[in-house]
Amino acid sequence: MMSIHEHTFDAIVVGAGGSGLMAAVYLAKQGSLRTAVLSKLYPTRSHTGTAQGGIGAALGNMGEEDHWEWHMFDTIKGSDYLGDQDAIEVMCRESPEVVYELEHMGLPFSRTEDGRIAQRRFGGHTSNFGEAPVRRACYAADRTGHMILQTLYQQSIKHDVEFFDEFQVVDLLIEDGSCRGAVALNIATGELHIFRSKALVLATGGYGQVWEITSNAVTLTGDGLFLVARRGVPLEDMEFYQFHPTGIRRMGILITEGVRGEGGILRNHAGERFMELYAPNLKDLASRDVVSRAIYKEIRAGRGINGERYVHLDATQLGAEVIENKLPEIADFCRTYLGIDPVTEPIPIQPTAHYAMGGIPTDVDGGVVGMQGEPVRGLYAIGECACVSVHGANRLGTNSLVDLVVFGRRAGIAMAEYCRGADLEPTGEDPAGRSREELEALLSTAGKDGENAAEIRREMKELMMDNVSVFRTDELLSEAKVKLEELRERADRIAIDDPSRAFNLDLTDAWETRGMVELAQITTECALNRTESRGAHSREDYPDRDDENWLKHTLAVVRDGASEIGYKPVSITRFEPKERVY
């Protein structure tokens, strides 16, 4: 039997990426609250560290005018008008202030000649409501995420945040509309721990591992998402998943949009700059959904390199100095994994699964809201696992890092406030019972005959890549739905190899696999349900945006293994939906 340990805190942060650490720093600054951060990875291993290109804020440091209202407009247009304008206003208004705050925490941004934070161009970011590209992405070479993660971890140490490293949350104690804590597996020992809390925030990141070609870490398995879904909390806009145009061919490793921001150009087999055709004004710097679709269309028309499923990202005109100084990591990836030098050779790329616009529905303070807009007391969500919604149907580059710190900070402040007025609510008898049963049952399969979790993952990833990616149809999605149901049944029969307690990643892999199949199902059902094309959700059988019927968010709640779908209105405050051209 697994032994059980118990802890009580005021506030718990699940996840130690940029969003979780920002919330933790703000909770710690409140002083008297007992706060713990639980993370299945050492904090500095979190995927925020891989973010490359920049964090968006209208600082206007480059001798060009910029305003947060322009940033707001670009974000709304980028979202294909599905983003909530009240939330987007909060984000764009607060982003300059949080970027300065990161600088004050010591973040080593790259600098301009006059010593200010350096900024570069990024897709979809423009001046004067769409006129021309503007330099808005604040960067630290192409290691912006690494610097944010390091800086926030350093600040957590400074503020004495208490960490439970390599603790994986495996259940949430949600009862009668309130969250009373979580159950976590101490990976090092295999023991279960019950954490009781007044307020808990999920900051568990994305779920890109559901697809075959992805920029996401193997650990980005969407735990926070399937955990809330299993406890009857809805997920919002799950049909909107972003494919970044430029992943390294076959590997999916990201090549930042910053390469195009610095002047890189996409070319097809004939060497043509094909984006001129698809986005005459912004060209290579159009929104990601637009560029990914263009690449797919080029490939379909037989204009991929040598007729194969990839195109070239040409950075040779940037020159050695720009590449070595502003894009050193990219140069390193190309040399290490492709054996090519981007200074002289084009980079083979294909779209790669990258970012979840959808997620756990929240208000602008990170507070989770249910199907009818009712709050789930004591439960918060921030970062990529949350859906505020500031990204709507398509996220602009540099807006996730902004989202992490703006809403991480707001949630930290709101949770502290909530904790002061709230009491610990009781948990039912044997709160770890469900998790214990689930994990013991999986452990008892060790060495027996059964399904291999890795094989289920492989089939799911291929299926999602072929049927539920950049272009979708009723036929493809319906087929995926049937096959995912089969995969889900097979996932119930997974048998693992490793019978041991300590550091059993065979066990956690299997557990995550089941959750990912559930998320793949929800994503597919939401995609099937939305019969229009908007942002990253592109239905070839319904090629147009349909504001009359579909200018609304999807909410999916899982009942008896199937998604029940509801809707909620989009907040429109300043910018009426218009046709979207770049």
Partner: protein, 232 residues
């Protein structure tokens, strides 16, 4: 190509001693060593245990001894190490299971150098200014991903576990040479102690081991100089 992975195994719950296991299979020369280890875990033996996450040399989870040299398993291609590949955990730490080591001491050394920005003056409304040259002075050491490849390749750290090790010094360097930071007096005092920088014998193993190509020995030298300057 056909490859033979010889992998260090330690499974304390089922067997007392450590041993090597061999796995032979087909791989592409362009596969990462990590892809080979994943192949073993996913298809040949699910009990094989190692830390991994981003798979492209940023998160620092999978520093291992690969044919006797500390490297990130996700940053070396199979074709570059050859068809016989020996995999062992980092040296000098307690092994928990297979390739997973206990990193607690490593992180406590890291924490001992005040690895955070110190400046108690009220900040301006906008950013603090920093010149391009001043930003360059500590650029190299900002790249550290705390993978421990350097510290576990250092003979001084092997022989004296209390030596704070190259990684902690790199982290301290990042702040000492940042002209916005004001915490260096305390930091240099800590680094000047018995188990601080002076244990470094400039063997350069750390520099060779660093997957981010940080000039670690040079950085340690700069910290030594700063301590001397501070004292005089």
């Amino acid at each position: 190509m056909r490859v033979l992975f010889k992998v260090y195994r330690y499974q304390p719950e089922t067997r007392e001693d450590a041993y090597f296991d061999s796995f032979e299979f087909d791989a592409e020369p362009t596969d990462r060593v990590l892809d080979g280890l994943n192949h073993i875990k996913w298809h040949l033996d699910g009990t094989l245990t190692l830390r991994r996450s981003c798979q492209h040399g940023i998160c620092g989870s999978d520093a291992l001894r690969i044919n006797g040299v500390n490297r990130l398993a996700c940053k070396v291609l199979i074709g570059d190490v050859g068809s016989k590949i020996k995999i062992e955990p980092l040296m000098g730490f307690t092994v928990i299971k297979d390739l997973v080591v206990d990193m607690d001491r490593f992180f406590s050394h890291y924490r001992s150098v005040m690895p955070y920005f110190v400046n108690d003056e009220a900040p301006p409304d906008r950013e603090r200014l920093q010149s391009v040259e001043a930003r360059d002075a500590y650029d190299d050491t900002t790249k550290c991903i705390l993978c421990a490849a350097c510290t576990t390749s250092c003979p001084s750290a092997w022989s004296n576990p209390d030596f704070i090790g190259p990684a902690a010094i790199v982290q301290a360097h990042r702040f000492i040479f940042d002209d916005r930071d004001e915490g260096s007096e305390e930091r240099l005092a800590a680094l000047g102690q018995r188990d601080g920088v002076w244990r470094c014998r400039t063997v350069f193993n750390c520099t060779r081991a660093c997957p981010k190509e940080i000039q670690i020995t040079k950085a340690i030298g700069e910290v030594k100089k700063a301590i001397v300057a501070d004292r005089s």
